[in-house]
């Protein structure tokens, strides 16, 4: 099977993630959609690594995973902090700052 199909799959996953960020209201779900986008990138990197016949892409996937883990730590702590004060994680309710 041609590896190109994985590129299509990863583009699809990335698009699903991007649409999810735009339409979902819960900050946690939005954040999960961003993680989906990052993992779609990982799939792209590994596929290109296979197509190009070089290992660089696979190494980069590890970097992305580590960075994503660091992002989870910071992101969840920020969402936790706002949940404690507001009792909600809906991004529509955070509307003090606008225009």
């Amino acid at each position: 099977m041609s590896p190109t199909i994985y590129l299509l799959l990863s583009a699809l996953l990335f698009a699903i993630g991007a649409v999810g960020v735009l339409v979902r209201r819960n900050a946690i779900v939005v954040f999960m959609c961003i993680e989906l986008m990052l993992n779609a990138v990982n799939l792209t990197l590994v596929t290109f690594s296979r197509i190009n016949g070089s290992l660089g892409g696979q190494i980069m996937a590890f970097f992305v995973m580590v960075v994503a883990a660091a992002e989870v730590v910071v992101g969840l702590s920020i969402i936790m902090a706002i949940f404690r004060t507001r009792r909600t994680t809906s991004v529509d309710d955070a509307n003090l700052l606008k225009y």
Binding site: I34, I51, E71, V74, G75, S77, I78, A81, A94
Partner: protein
């Protein structure tokens, strides 16, 4: 895996980065080991020492005439522009850290108090006055939006802010240094996250107006993570195109690769979206006003000045080194982005009623001007953009320092109506604000004029006359809202219950004075800095 030699490391060239990141690690250690009482002062001393040492290292490197090197297996390029940007970032970090450390305007500091210290203070208070405590602390809690406000120890010295902010600032600064010197996209991505994650946290740490501060942190975080996912997908596509993420390899591949060009341009587009977001350019600016308004003002000052420098440093490097050979293919799109950025910034800036939001929209317009210089892939454009970044950074830091001085009963009074008649109440502050506003508008004898002139001249020389005309018109429109604030300060009567203007402590005074003096000097005698910026070129 045979024949893999360990990459050579040029410690001399990397010294500034190593000092800052090493200092950040030491700062985290001290945070864990030092007793609460001495922690704040020690951390401040450490931070200033580290920044000064790194600045000295940059100056030594720049004056030694050492050849530009690409070190760590091509991960970092320490060349002329990188050293200039490092110098700018570290020089801007000094007033920013001083603003962060200020205790005179907001007793105890502008940041959340340490829970342990709060506990001690509350216990002490409990011993002193048992009866009045319940009502007092519940009102403090509700006015602070449910957070601990650090004001529970009434009548005593206010509880100190958390000193983690210094470690966070140092990590962010280290990330910025790496970001604008990184020679491959993976390093650039990691640096992007290293600089962003501490900033997300800093935004949410305000002591007053907890809800707005936290909201700005959430917005900045979600949008920032979203944009870095785009950056990353661009990186992946470029890796597929060039089989490497080194900027020079991408440039080589663009000259003659068998793969479809759609990969290259899709990758470039996604990558640039991520970069433009960080620089708060044009249609990718939506986070800017909210975050500038919600974050503690000292953090806004740091973010507005240093993030812009780092992001435009990276944009310049990516455009010049990786995509310089395909400039005619993609520049048309950026014309639209630059025009959108300038127009959005100027027009929406007109409608603002909050000083911090107004400066935020002004920064969007300035990002458009900067993009003009960055798009001209010429030595002249490079030196003009570098100069603009330095000039704009100092003006912004000083301006936010002044914003933090105008205070009402409930923290900073940033609504425009509160600034009416400030010229009568506080002539010195009003004069300084006036001067900086004129600099932002680009009036001669300020750094803003020199910077704009240099950027427009470079854009004109590179055949972007229509863009320069748009930029001039936008400058005129933007001047209106800068001047409106000046008119408001001098020609309207102060309100009876208007805000008070705090007398700044030594830290804030030094920071503001530094910003104002640099703004003046770069306007009157710009040749020294322009001479340094001239003739710099990227490696690769």
């Amino acid at each position: 895996m045979t024949g893999q030699a360990f990459p050579s490391v040029d410690y001399g060239a990397l010294a500034p980065v190593l000092i800052v990141l090493g200092g950040a690690c030491v700062s985290v250690l001290l945070e864990a080991l030092l007793p609460l009482r001495v922690r704040g002062r020690t951390q401040l001393g450490l931070t200033l020492t580290v920044v000064a040492a790194a600045l000295v290292a940059v100056i030594v490197r720049a004056t030694s005439g050492a050849a530009p090197v690409s070190t760590l297996a091509g991960a970092l390029a320490v060349d002329g522009p990188a050293l200039f940007l490092w110098g700018t970032l570290l020089a801007l970090a000094v007033p920013s850290v001083l603003l962060l450390a200020d205790r005179s305007v907001e007793p105890g500091g502008a940041f959340l108090a340490d829970p342990v210290a709060l506990g001690e203070a509350e216990a002490a208070e409990q011993r002193v006055a048992v009866g009045a405590r319940a009502g007092g602390s519940s009102s403090a809690r509700s006015s602070g939006g449910g957070g601990r406000t650090g004001r529970s120890a009434r009548g005593q010295t206010p509880v100190e802010s958390q000193s983690e902010i210094y470690a966070l600032v140092l990590f962010a600064l280290g990330g910025m240094l790496v970001f604008c010197a990184s020679d491959d996209l993976l390093t650039m991505f990691v640096a992007l996250e290293v600089l962003s994650l501490p900033l997300y946290l800093l935004c949410g740490l305000a002591r007053r107006r907890r809800l707005m501060s936290q909201e700005s942190a959430v917005k900045y975080f979600l949008l920032g993570a979203f944009s870095s996912a785009f950056f990353l997908y661009g990186l992946a596509l470029l890796y597929g195109y060039a089989d490497s993420v080194k900027l020079s390899d991408i440039s080589l591949a663009a000259a003659g690769s068998l793969r479809p060009d759609s990969l290259l341009f899709a990758g470039l587009a996604l990558l640039v979206v991520g970069l433009l977001f960080k620089a708060s350019v044009g249609p990718f600016h939506t986070w800017t006003p909210d975050v500038y308004q919600g974050a503690p003002t000292s953090v806004t000052a740091f973010m507005a000045a240093c993030t812009k420098v780092a992001a435009f440093g990276a944009i310049l490097r990516v455009f010049t080194v990786a995509f310089g050979s395909t400039v005619w293919e993609w520049r048309g799109v950026l014309w639209v982005v630059a025009i959108a950025s300038m127009v959005i910034g100027a027009v929406l800036g007109l409608t603002q009623t909050d000083v911090k939001r107004m400066i935020a929209y002004s920064s969007v317009a300035h990002a458009g001007f900067l993009l003009l210089g960055a798009m001209a892939i010429t030595p002249q454009g490079l030196s003009a953009t570098l100069f603009y970044l330095l000039a704009y950074g100092f003006t912004t830091v000083a301006l936010f320092g002044l914003v933090s001085l105008v205070r009402g009963p409930d923290g900073e009074a940033t609504h425009l109506s509160a600034w009416a008649g400030l010229g009568k109440r506080a002539p010195v502050v009003a004069a300084a604000v006036t001067f900086l506003m004129l600099a932002l508008a680009g009036i001669p004898l300020t750094s803003g004029f020199t910077a704009k002139f240099a950027v427009f001249a470079a854009a004109l020389a590179d055949g972007m006359a229509p863009l320069v005309i748009v930029a001039l018109v936008v400058s005129a429109v933007a001047a209106f809202f800068y001047l409106r604030l000046i008119v408001l300060m001098y020609f309207s009567e102060p309100a009876a219950d208007g805000p008070t203007v705090s007398v700044p402590g030594p830290f804030t005074t030094v920071a503001i004075t530094l910003g104002v003096v640099v703004t003046l000097l770069l306007g009157v005698v710009p040749t020294a800095v322009l001479g340094w910026a001239d003739g710099l070129s990227f490696l690769g």
